[in-house]
Amino acid sequence: MAKPIIELQKVTRTYRLGSEVIHALNSVSLQINEGEYIAITGASGSGKSTLVNVIGGLDSPNSGTVVVDKHDLSNMHDDKLSVYRNKTIGFVFQSFNLQPNNTIVENVMLPLVLSGVKPEERKKRATEYLNTVGLGSRLDHRPSQLSSGQQQLTAIARALIGQPKILIADEPTGNLDSLRGQEILEILQKINDQGTTLIVVTHDPNTAHLADRILQMSDGRLTELKI
């Protein structure tokens, strides 16, 4: 029996540019079940990032309700929302977003530092996660000393270290060549196989077809392509 973990109802997010109003999300309703692998596609500027940012608690809608894992995000205090981002969600970005001055292991530990986990404990866990993505020998390197693919692997380790229920990847392969991209997608697939709900934003139809469901955004509106 599939349990819904993400429910959006009539979610609208608008931007005002001068007199023009842009509907990045236009009354989007959506339900995602626990453990599902969701692909979100659509043209550039169609609202894909806005959608996952709202789900991930990085952005908040103008109207509508967002309920994730029984948390109602629409009127959540920033402190709780921060805990939600720390615990429930793992985020992987197209541009990696690693802290350039910190080592790989420090980057991966960051969510645990913010939640107050003891130094030995968080170091141990970060090392474990880096081992599983194959970067166990690069712990003390800086992001700039790694290849793009390795940087994205680091970002994935960071997203996973808090053992989130939902992993969101916004065009995770966008900055990688196809071979590296393939590697990343395989890892994401494996994570989903272990039960984590996975949302991947992608331009690439081949990538999208790996998912259980494909959601298509166009001009802020959502349509389901494949069930």
């Binding site: 952005d59 969510p111 808090g162």
Partner: protein, 481 residues
């Protein structure tokens, strides 16, 4: 949940390290401000303490100077001259004062203005400065470079000399060697006190029997008095001190007079002698030595009253003033003098304060720049679970650390400069045989206050940048290039 205390510190430290040159500039500004504030305050505090110590060492903090004249301050009253309209400082007045509560000692003092020159062995003769006398009963204390106080009041022929004399006579490096040595004090030519060699009145009488011109009268000659040095003291360079009893003997007007009875006897004898045809030796009048005590006539120059506690000096001084005499305490004098130091201190600290305000603006600037530069980093932190308050605290802490480090280095730098200055000042003091050392002091409370203040300045300067950092929205911060 929430970041650990120690992690705030290590993160803040690392962030400051990563923007090393900018942090250093901000710290440097604080260092300059702190160093100037520190040195200025230390100077004022040191000067105050030095000043205070001078009074303390000589017991003056417990002293009241009683003066025949009213309205003088502590310093003036110590060398006030006798005056006509003054209340005479007699033993009767002294006894009254001694009977007051809290009064533990009293000595009369008398200025002995009779000497013009002083010499020791073959060393160069020196002009005499002030010569004062007092009862050696512990009320008046000196800072001795060698020797000590008079052992008793009847020390006729004993003196304490000021350091300058010993220096002039070549004892600069060995003040001890001059103790027990004899000096010769030359009086002025009108000195007629004890020890003066008065012209023989009979000779004079004979010479001028038939009347003589003023310039034929035998003049009183300067007298040379011998005295033994018992102490060399530092705080009044050219002063000489005598025991009061000896001073009483010196401060006498002696002259030969013919008493009325003797005058009658002489007139009779002379008449008889003349009537007998001036047979035999001419009868001569009988002269009597008459001595007039100046102390009895004028009273003491001052009384120095010792009170049990510094805190009681003002009350006792008030009580003494009811006798119609002047009475001042060192305490009130020092307080009025310290007021000047306080004003100087405030002005100097104000200047340093302005430097610190400029430095605070520097910190604001540094931190605002840091927020701009690290916007994306802030976005990442927020994305993985940093609260607004976490970000805000981190930036406030970084700014506070800048202030703290600036304060610590500023104090250290200031301390270095102060130590150097003290080395220099100490050699100067040693050259002048002043016992105080390390005059400019940096008390612990000042160090804590200054470092605390710069930390708070840093913190306050960090509030605005921290607020800017905290209010950034995660998505927008992440999109920032």
């Amino acid at each position: 949940m929430g970041m650990r205390f120690s992690d705030y510190f290590s993160l803040a430290f690392r962030n400051l390290l990563h923007q090393r040159s900018r942090s250093l500039l901000a710290i440097l500004a604080i260092v300059i401000g702190t160093t100037s504030v520190t040195i200025m305050l230390a100077l004022v505090i040191g000067a105050k303490d030095f000043y205070f110590d001078q009074f303390k060492a000589t017991g003056q903090l417990e002293q009241i100077i009683v003066n025949p004249q009213t309205g003088l301050d502590f310093m003036q009253s110590q060398r006030a001259a006798n005056c006509e309209s003054c209340v005479k400082l007699t033993n009767g007045v002294a006894n009254k004062i001694t009977s007051y509560d809290h009064v533990v000692g009293l000595t009369g003092t008398a200025d002995v203005n009779i000497f013009v020159a002083v010499s020791q062995d073959s060393h160069q003769k020196q002009a005499v400065g002030t010569v004062q006398s007092y009862e050696p009963n512990g009320v008046i204390k000196h800072i001795f470079l060698a020797g000590g106080d008079f052992t008793n009041n009847s020390g006729v022929g004993k003196v304490i000399i000021g350091q300058n004399y010993a220096d002039q006579w070549g004892y600069k490096d060995n003040y001890k060697a001059i103790i027990g040595k004899e000096i010769k004090l030359t009086t002025n030519s009108s000195f007629t006190g004890e020890g003066a060699s008065l012209p023989d009145p009979l000779v004079q009488f004979k010479r001028c029997q038939a009347g003589c011109q003023a310039d034929q009268i035998a003049r009183q000659q300067p007298t040379v008095l011998k005295a033994t040095i018992v102490g060399v003291q530092s705080d009044a360079g050219s002063s000489i001190f005598l025991p009061l009893k000896w001073a009483g003997k010196l401060l006498k007007d002696q002259r030969y007079e013919i008493t009325k009875a003797n005058q009658i006897a002489y007139t009779q004898a002379y008449t008889t002698w003349t009537a007998r045809g001036q047979l035999g030796p001419e009868p001569m009048p009988k002269f009597t030595l008459v001595a007039d005590s100046q102390l009895a006539r004028n009273g003491y120059s001052t009384f120095v009253v010792k009170v049990d506690k510094t805190g009681n000096t003002d009350a006792v001084a008030r009580q003494i003033r009811k006798l119609g005499v002047g009475a001042t305490s060192a305490k009130s004098y020092i307080q009025s003098q310290l007021g000047v130091f306080n004003i100087i201190g405030f002005v100097l600290a104000g200047i340093g304060g302005i430097a610190l305000i400029v430095a605070a603006i520097g910190i604001i600037n540094t931190m605002v720049m840091a927020v701009l530069e690290r916007t994306r980093e802030i976005g990442v932190m927020r994305a993985v679970g940093a609260r607004r308050s976490t970000v805000s605290r981190l930036f406030t802490l970084e700014a506070s650390l800048l202030g703290f480090l600036g304060g610590v280095f500023g104090i250290a730098f200031g301390y270095g400069l102060i130590s150097l200055a003290n080395i220099f000042i100490n050699t100067q003091l040693a050259a002048n045989a002043i016992l105080n050392r390390n005059i400019i002091s940096l008390p612990g409370w000042l160090i804590l206050t200054v470092v605390g203040a710069t930390t708070v300045i840093g913190m306050v300067a960090g509030l605005y940048p921290a607020h800017r950092a905290a209010r950034l929205k995660p998505v927008e911060a992440l999109r920032h290039e």
